[in-house]
């Protein structure tokens, strides 16, 4: 593998790792909320978290760009300091995180819905408070589904293109992830390099999906 390709692969992995780490806590919290609680505005929360799934990624990227631009609500002039996200690898993390969140929330929600609420009630009668019940019963029972949520989120972040190119640009060695590198190689006619990168992404995606399937299948077999 060429040096440029391995740089792109490492950067993609780093971006996807931090994006996954960043969205797991809110993703799990939202998934639990949607699965277990009747809160006002639940339908709105549901729709908002699903939005990045159906919007063109470039539209999401553009919204993020406007949000972070100098004059935007999170821009340097409004906040008084610079978040330094635009055109950096951290910007790529943000774009990937936003795009991957819906998958994590949905998978986490299903994971929680598959836990029998009567088991949680049982734990309460045995003296466990709501927090201890979540930690000792709900989480362990949902753990495979939550692991699947993390892998899916990671894979989605790994392949992110549209939002990333708008927020982080396509700077070789700095913000050029695998998906962006394939695009660049193709544009200048480096077909062999592009094909090699495609091979890498296929292998990664295959491994991730296989892992998710086996996690979910075993989770079901245990019930």
């Amino acid at each position: 593998m060429s040096e440029a390709a391995s740089t792109a692969l490492l950067l993609s992995a780093r971006v996807a790792f931090w994006a996954t780490l960043a969205i797991l806590p809110p993703g799990i919290a939202l998934g639990w909320l949607l699965a277990r609680r009747e809160v006002p505005g639940k339908a709105l929360i549901e729709t908002l978290t699903a939005l990045p799934l159906v919007l063109p990624p470039t539209a999401v990227g553009y919204l993020l760009l406007r949000l972070l631009a100098r004059d935007g609500p999170l821009g340097a002039r409004t906040l008084g300091f610079d978040l330094d996200l635009l055109l950096t690898w951290k910007g790529a993390v943000l774009a990937a995180a936003v795009m991957a969140l819906p998958l994590v929330v949905r998978t986490a929600r299903v994971a929680f819905e598959e836990v029998d609420p009567r088991l949680e009630g049982m734990a309460r009668t045995l003296g466990l408070g709501p927090v201890a019940t979540f930690g000792r019963v709900t989480l362990p029972l949902a753990r495979r589904g939550l692991a699947a949520a993390a892998v899916l989120g990671f894979s989605r972040a790994l392949g992110e293109f549209g939002a990333t190119i708008i927020v982080a640009g396509n700077i070789p060695g700095r913000t050029q992830t695998l998906a962006l590198a394939i695009f660049s190689d193709m544009q200048v006619g480096r077909d062999r390099e592009a094909m090699a990168l495609v091979g890498v992404t296929v292998a990664l995606a295959f491994a991730a999906l296989w892992l998710v399937e086996s996690l979910l299948r075993k989770g079901r077999a245990r019930r």
Binding site: G121, L126, G129, P140, L141
Partner: protein, 368 residues
């Protein structure tokens, strides 16, 4: 003096409201009734797992619920040991893990029941490391009971712990329930729709029908009450409990009280010197005015008619129910006969009578 058990509740449920007022100083309470009467709903309300419950619950001197004063203890502070019908074991833990989670409440100082001791009493020690999802039905029920005991509850709530089990398994688990009662002395509310089981395990029962209390009292009296017994299997169920004194030729002698002995079939599981309980259906007993000669039935017991209850206009298919007092008079037996037989024998209160039944007519409930 603290009240042991006092409730006055209204619990909304799907088709009707379950409304129960009940006050008792007994330790072994039973909730009896057909399925759909609201028994499980009431248990869940006691455990704190139901919403919209109104009224008052006081157990062992502590108020769990008083909706007029805005008191409502969450389930984790009530200290109940709830054993639901399905057991509801934690599938991600092994047997000991389930018990330890149950023991989480009981602090080190006040903990009365250690998991190891409970495992021993319920004969579960060999299963300690078995994952919960690999257990059989009977094992699951015993582990659920053990888990509830480990939480050192102030009140045990048992929801038909034997209903899902076949007869041989029931006979094996019932002695454990009796043993738990004797060993740990925990106040218990036992839900059942089996008359023999309720009579054996409870000191006082409350009969529930469509969310309402229709009778209350000692199970031996309530469940042989001719007013009610038509709704039960075989026109009513009698529980005969005593000590096995001898076994010969596949027949066992069961001494119900000094001087009152019956013959029952021995299908295994009986031992001289041990106690056993048998179920005898009201429809399996014959009445005779005198002692009939040349009879294959092994039991002919003199008794006194207490009451004769002819079926009313509203129950055209029901038999007549005759109650009789046996022995010293403390034991009531209910017998189902046809209304014509009642007339032909001219049965009336205080008439001397003989109860005739086969040894095989007595079905073993438990030997303990």
């Amino acid at each position: 003096m603290s009240v042991r058990f006092a409730i006055d509740l209204a619990v909304p449920c799907e088709h009707f409201e379950v409304a129960v007022e009940w006050r008792s100083e007994r330790r072994a309470l039973g909730l009896f009734g057909p399925s759909g009467a609201g028994k499980t709903t009431l248990l869940e309300a006691l455990a704190g797992l139901r919403r919209g419950v109104r009224g008052r619950i006081e157990v062992g001197g502590r108020v769990w619920l008083d909706s007029t004063r805005g008191i409502r203890l969450p389930p984790e502070r009530r200290g109940v040991g709830y054993v639901p019908q399905e057991g509801l074991l934690f599938p991600h833990l092994d047997v000991l893990g389930n018990l330890r989670l149950g023991a989480a409440r009981a602090g080190a100082g006040e903990r009365r029941l250690v998991p190891e001791r409970v495992l021993e009493v319920l004969e579960l020690a060999p299963l300690a490391r078995r994952p919960a999802r690999e257990l059989s039905g009977g094992e699951r029920q015993r582990v659920a009971l053990a888990r509830a005991l480990c939480s050192s509850p102030g009140l045990l709530l048992l929801d038909e712990p034997l209903a899902s089990l076949d007869l041989p398994l029931r006979r094996r688990i019932l002695p454990h329930l009796l043993r738990v009662r004797e060993e740990f002395g925990i106040p218990t509310l036992h839900v059942s729709h089996d008359a023999a089981e309720a009579t054996l395990l409870c000191e006082e029962i409350c009969v529930l029908e469509r969310g309402r209390v229709v009778a209350r009292g000692a199970p031996g009296e309530v469940l042989t009450d001719p007013e009610r017994s038509a709704a039960l299997d075989g026109g009513g169920v009698n529980l005969l409990e005593g000590r096995v004194t001898a076994i010969a030729e596949s027949l066992a002698r069961l001494e119900l009280e000094p001087g009152l002995v019956i013959e029952v079939a021995d299908e295994g599981g009986l031992e001289p010197g041990r106690r056993a309980a048998f179920e005898l259906r009201a429809s399996d007993i014959l009445l005779a005015l005198g002692r009939p000669p040349g009879l294959s039935a092994q039991n002919v017991l003199p008794a006194t008619v207490e009451a004769v209850h002819l079926p009313g206009a509203g129950e055209p298919h029901a038999p007549a129910r005759v109650t009789a007092r046996l022995g010293a008079g403390s034991r009531r037996i209910v017998v189902a006969v046809s209304p014509r037989a009642c007339r032909e024998l001219a049965l009336a209160p205080a008439a001397p009578i003989h109860l005739v039944f086969k040894a095989q007519g007595c079905r073993l409930v438990a030997s303990f």
